[in-house]
């Protein structure tokens, strides 16, 4: 029963990892950009939520109304002003610029908020749980988190294949120059993709801030979890990413159950095993 509970918690945690991954794989899919600052942007969103909650005295979950548009705007501006200049055949500039961005965000947050870890309090919802029989209980907050992850992924899937902007994303991804010839403004499309990515980052940041303590230095680990979920699931497949996140979450939960020190290691090992045995991921769609 203890193990069943461990696996259940792992699955719910996997939803969060899938959301770390969704924003990352979205921009990689559209503009072949790997954003090394992705994890630090999640932490930035958490701090934006912190400031919002402190200034307005509202529930952290309600702060999404402000954090999501703020982060989306940051994303659009970041892409248009900085990241679009780095795109091209050479993969060095985007990697190094986003790496520099990661260091800038981390140290900027450190300067503004110190290294002390903080947490947002979402009130009674944090400790509520639903009994599902057999002595098992599911926390309401993890459940909300998982439901949001499924909703985000379903939403992205719908956006990509059913809407005009999704068509624009796919067109610029397949062939940027033809897309431009057909009247798309690639810079703008890329800006929108980054805005969408950071809107997801905002949701993840708020959930992370409510779930556990955070400080300016935890970004890179979030990037790595998201990246591992993407690779385990297989590039280009949204539902695969959800599965990848769940596998990672369950591996970590099982590792932690065996020995607290093996929590993160078990996740990395699951990733390395998938990479060794099935480098295209478990549910691949396109070859990266």
């Amino acid at each position: 029963m203890e193990w069943l509970n461990t696996i259940l918690q792992g699955i719910l945690l996997g939803g969060l990892y899938a959301m770390f991954a969704a924003g990352l794989s979205l921009i990689f899919g559209v503009m072949r950009l790997v954003n090394i600052a992705h994890g630090d942007l999640i932490v930035l969103a958490a701090y934006v939520a912190l400031v919002t909650v402190q200034a307005l005295g509202i529930n952290p979950l309600l702060s999404l109304v402000i954090v999501v548009p703020v982060m989306a705007l940051i994303g659009y501006v970041l892409q248009r002003a900085l990241l679009n200049r780095t795109l091209g055949d050479d993969l060095l500039p985007p990697l190094l610029v986003t790496f520099g961005l990661s260091v800038i965000i981390q140290n900027g947050l450190l300067e503004l908020f110190t290294a002390d870890s903080v947490k947002l309090n979402a009130g009674a919802v944090e400790i509520e749980s639903i009994a599902v029989g057999g002595g098992l209980a599911i926390g309401v907050l993890p459940l909300i988190q998982f439901a949001l992850a499924v909703a985000v992924i379903a939403g992205l899937q719908w956006l990509f294949y059913r809407t005009a902007i999704g068509r624009a994303f796919r067109a610029t991804s397949d062939d940027p120059s033809s897309a431009q010839l057909m009247g798309l403004n690639n810079s703008h499309v890329f800006g929108l993709a980054m805005a969408l990515s950071l809107a997801i980052v905002a949701i993840v940041g708020v959930l992370l801030a409510v779930r556990s303590n955070f400080d300016p230095a935890i970004g890179p680990a979030r990037l790595i979890f998201g990246f591992e979920a993407v690779i385990i699931g297989g590039l280009g497949s949204m539902w695969g990413t959800l599965a990848g996140g769940i596998i990672l979450g369950v591996a970590q939960a099982i590792g932690a159950q065996l020995d607290p020190g093996w929590n993160l290691l078990a996740g990395h090992i699951a990733f390395l095993v998938v990479l060794a045995l099935r480098p295209q991921g478990l549910f691949p769609k396109v070859q990266g």
Binding site: G100, E111, P220, I224, F227, H268, I269, P279
Partner: protein, 336 residues
């Protein structure tokens, strides 16, 4: 056909090489003219020139953008501490062993992370470094996460007097950077260097001209791991204290190294040297600023990447055609 030959040297490389040789001689004599604190600073500078030169070979020439070289700095350091403390190996003898151990580990690691294409390779290297860090934190024989210090007996075995110990470590640090720079110059002048330069300039073109790109990248990755681990071993032998967080620090061993290389000039052997000089000048003036200092470095590196992607030495080299080391290839007619 044999009427032509390749000439590597130029006027600037004669001048440059002469300056480098004279500077090396002067620096080798530093224990006689420098203060104790200066020696430590110089040894740190050598370590960064060497680390950045190796990263430059990896990212600038072979196109393997790693953000996880701290994996090998830390591995080398931990191998040295393990050998010296648990197996009684002389710490100086443990330095080359650390290099070989890292090269041995790099072979399967490369086989695994080379499966990640292009951009994702970078994050894959980071995962490897994290795994190494977590494993080091689990090593209870070396006090796991809290870290450990070298016992006095091990430290004394380097040399009995404190002064001689400091001199020994200083000279090894200088020897490491000289050997690494010399090896890189030699490599770049060889046919493999031609292949690497071709890969740097156009990987597809290099492949279509018959260069076995994967094999060369593999060899460079393993060789760089070898050198990086020996540097890491000496760095922590000098520090005497080790912990997983300092040995596998992404800021110290990757962020600084990348900024140094980018600012100095990536894909050029002179870049890391110029970059290190600028890095230490900035550090001496801005060190009091703490986190702001790293922030400024990040901004400078991004600005350089966007507006002068070849770095400061790239600007100089393009403007004046200078080279410090005899690396260029110019065909000249043989005199009959």
């Amino acid at each position: 056909m044999s009427d032509v030959r390749v000439r590597h040297a130029s006027v600037s490389s004669w001048i440059g090489t002469t300056i480098v040789v004279l500077a090396t001689v002067a620096l080798a004599a530093a224990p006689w003219w420098a203060e104790r604190a200066d020696l430590r600073l110089l040894a740190e500078i050598y370590a960064y020139v060497a680390l950045a030169s190796l990263w430059n070979l990896l990212a600038g020439y072979a196109g393997l953008v790693s953000v996880g070289q701290q994996a090998y700095v830390g591995l080398g350091a931990y191998v040295l501490f393990g050998l010296a403390m648990l197996a009684g190996v002389h710490p100086l003898a443990a330095i080359p062993i650390a290099g070989f151990a890292a090269a041995l580990v790099a072979v399967p690691v490369a086989a695994l992370i080379f499966r990640l294409r292009g951009h994702y390779f970078a994050i894959g290297t980071w995962v490897v470094a994290e795994v190494f860090r977590l494993l080091a934190a689990q090593t209870s024989a070396l006090d796991g996460g809290s870290g450990t210090s070298l016992p006095a007996a091990v430290v004394l075995s380097i040399a009995s007097s404190r002064q001689m110990r400091e001199f020994t470590i200083y000279w090894i640090a200088l020897a490491q950077v000289v050997v690494i720079l010399f090896a890189i110059v030699w490599l770049l002048r060889s046919r493999y260097g031609l292949a690497l330069t071709a890969i740097r300039d156009n990987e597809l073109g290099a492949r279509s001209n018959g260069i076995d790109v994967v094999r060369i990248k593999y060899a460079v990755y393993v060789a760089v791991a070898f050198g990086t681990a020996m540097l890491g071993a000496l760095i922590f032998l000098q520090k005497i204290r080790i912990s997983p967080d300092t040995a596998f620090s992404v800021n110290d061993w990757t962020a600084f190294v990348i900024f140094i290389t980018v600012i100095g000039g990536i894909g050029r052997i002179e870049g890391p040297i110029i970059g290190t000089v600028i890095f230490f000048l900035l550090r001496q003036t801005l060190a009091d600023l703490g986190a702001i200092y790293l922030l400024i470095l990040g901004v400078v590196a991004i600005a350089v990447m966007l507006w002068a992607p070849k770095g400061l030495w790239g600007l100089v080299a393009d403007r004046f055609g200078w080279q410090v080391f005899p690396l260029q290839r110019r065909l000249v007619l043989k005199k009959r």
